[in-house]
């Protein structure tokens, strides 16, 4: 049960594959506190520590802060989601 890994199909992706595939993409990172960070995902590691660029901080849906670069400590992360509607991405 080890040989068949469908790399080509984007439907069968592991969480790790997903995380690898979203580098450089606009994302929303939600923290346990409920705060959202929107920006470009620069990179992340196994602790879910995250480096982001052009980051906007939203508290209760309201823009509260902007950071050129931001490091988010992984233990605070609830989820990472790709977002289509940020900044310079069209499609």
């Amino acid at each position: 049960m080890s040989g068949t890994v469908e790399k080509s199909s984007s439907a069968t992706k592991t969480p790790a594959d997903f995380l690898k595939s979203i580098r450089g993409r606009p994302v929303v990172v939600k923290l346990n506190s409920g705060v959202d960070y929107r920006g470009i995902l620069a990179c992340l590691d196994g602790y879910m520590n995250i480096a982001m660029e052009q980051t906007e901080e939203y508290v209760n849906g309201q823009l509260k802060n902007k950071y050129g670069d931001a490091f988010i400590r992984g233990n605070n992360v609830l989820y990472i989601s790709t977002s289509k509607r940020t900044l310079a991405e069209g499609a």
Binding site: L31, N49, A51, N65, G68, F71, I72, R73
Partner: protein, 98 residues
Amino acid sequence: MGSTEEESAVKEPLDLIRLSLDERIYVKLRHDRELRGKLHAYDQHLNMILGDVEEIVTTVEIDDETYEEIVRTTRRTVPFLFVRGDGVILVSPPLRTA
């Protein structure tokens, strides 16, 4: 996994911190605390030593009569501060903080 190629670029998130060494950074902590200070040391837990630190603590009180939220910030400065990493939420080089 396979991760021993470049050493200077931002390849893993902690590189962002590494590049901020000896720079003034902004640190957002749990319980509505914020720090600004020069980063002198850190480790992989985000334990840090900061210099020339300004701490801002934000508290929200409810007015007894109007029930309005009163947001208060208290500031203080500390010459050198060790910060335990488990309270850290976010770190940013403040120069590029809008």
